[in-house]
Symmetry: C2
Subunit: 254 residues, 2 copies
């Protein structure tokens, strides 16, 4: 049995709480948050506390809290014997240096409380100082159906940057697509099969090989028609920059 | 039985050929292309021709050819009694005005010969002058498991523009993500569950509600760290522009 204390009550903590509850090899002993109100959804299911000094003895303490809080909290956990890990893409392992045993347990997925946590196959980026701690984290990942990757702090920061491009920025392009549909009284659902296919195709081939569209084939007439039809200044700038980037990449400059 | 002549041998024509072959209510009478060589993959399965004057009598002629060829070919098909449609997102119905009966049959999906045509649920944007022609196209869409939408030429052009944002530009962001991974010796597959989830979440909520990341939460420290770590000039410009666009949209300017 692996005993876990969860620190935090946000999207990642909520997901981990649910995922761990599905395994009979992982026991959540306690959930911590500095605010009593945030603990409400957990109170009926598990022991909770608002005091860092009252954390129970566990094998693993998971800091699922905001990036800037991590070093402060780590300092307060320096007397614990168990492994202390954080779940951030952007914070280095170094931030936990005051803990006796430290690691990173970063689930590379987008979590929203509004959407059911049906996720499996979530990639976890793991980093520890000791090999035995890495084995513990790997075991937990496998128990909840995730996929474990050993990733250094340097690599993790790059991965976090890449995730901004492929998730946050991509979602903004979806929002622009939706806006164009709304203004023109077209149901956004028409675009959704295309969006899904574009994402799913990555399991067949590299995005470089999958690039299509007017910029890739240097179809200047269509590009000009599109630019004329965009009234939103920011959308136009994004169209121009991404078109230029694709043309440059595929050897056809404007 | 609906008799069809297919003009063109590219990705869309190949997809339609395969999709129609699965229905016993649609019969492909003939495939046309101006080049004999391009017809090779079809020759064993169906009658082919390189002469527009030798097209068979059919209910429907589908022009699955490059946008700029459509008006020229339409002029050569002015004596046909059947319905002549094109499959382009960017060309208006007007381009077929020399045909006796004309329409648009635009499948809003990304097609690649390299990837199996397992597609169903493909949205088809339909436009015709006569109601009976619209019914014919709707029947065909349903027979091949697609979804029919009646869309005007004006709406279709906007939809084509939106598709550039949510498919072509999105794919370029995937390519940037892959490049960051390659340079840092990280397997790109780590990002793929996140990419899929970001696309699939659109069936639960609007992208505006799903926006996450440093730009959305105005996390200036992470944004600065990211900008410092990007050496590629074009990637940096894209990061800046999209970050600024998200900040503007969510009311937090730089």
């Amino acid at each position: 049995m692996i005993d876990v204390v969860l620190l935090g009550t946000g999207n990642i903590a909520t997901y981990l709480f649910e995922a761990f509850s599905t395994s009979n090899k992982i026991r959540i002993l306690q959930v911590y948050n500095h605010s009593q109100a945030s603990l409400t959804p957990f109170k009926e299911k598990v022991s909770t506390t608002i005091f860092l000094e009252k954390l129970k003895k566990a094998d693993l303490y998971i800091l699922a809290v905001k990036d800037d809080v991590i070093p402060k909290m780590a300092a307060a956990l320096s007397n614990l014997n168990g492994l202390v890990v954080h779940t951030s893409g952007a914070v280095s392992l170094e931030a936990l240096k005051q803990c006796q045993h430290s690691g990173v347990f970063y689930p590379l997925q987008t979590f929203s409380k509004a959407i059911p946590a049906h996720h499996r196959d979530i990639p976890f980026c793991l980093e520890t100082e000791r090999q035995e701690d890495l084995e513990l984290l790997k075991t937990i990942v496998h128990k909840i159906g995730g996929k474990a990757y050993q990733v250094t702090s340097g690599q993790r920061k790059k991965l976090h940057l890449a995730a901004v491009f492929v998730c946050n920025f991509v979602n903004h392009l979806y929002a622009i697509g939706e806006e164009i549909c709304l203004i023109n009284e077209i149901p956004f659902e028409i675009l959704q099969p295309l969006i899904l296919e574009t994402a799913q195709n990555l399991s067949h081939a590299s995005p470089r090989k999958l690039q299509t569209g007017p910029a890739k084939r240097n179809d200047l007439a269509t590009i000009q028609t599109h630019l004329k039809s965009i009234s939103n200044k920011e959308h136009k700038e994004i169209y121009q920059l991404l078109t230029h980037a694709i043309q440059t990449d595929y050897g056809k400059k404007l």
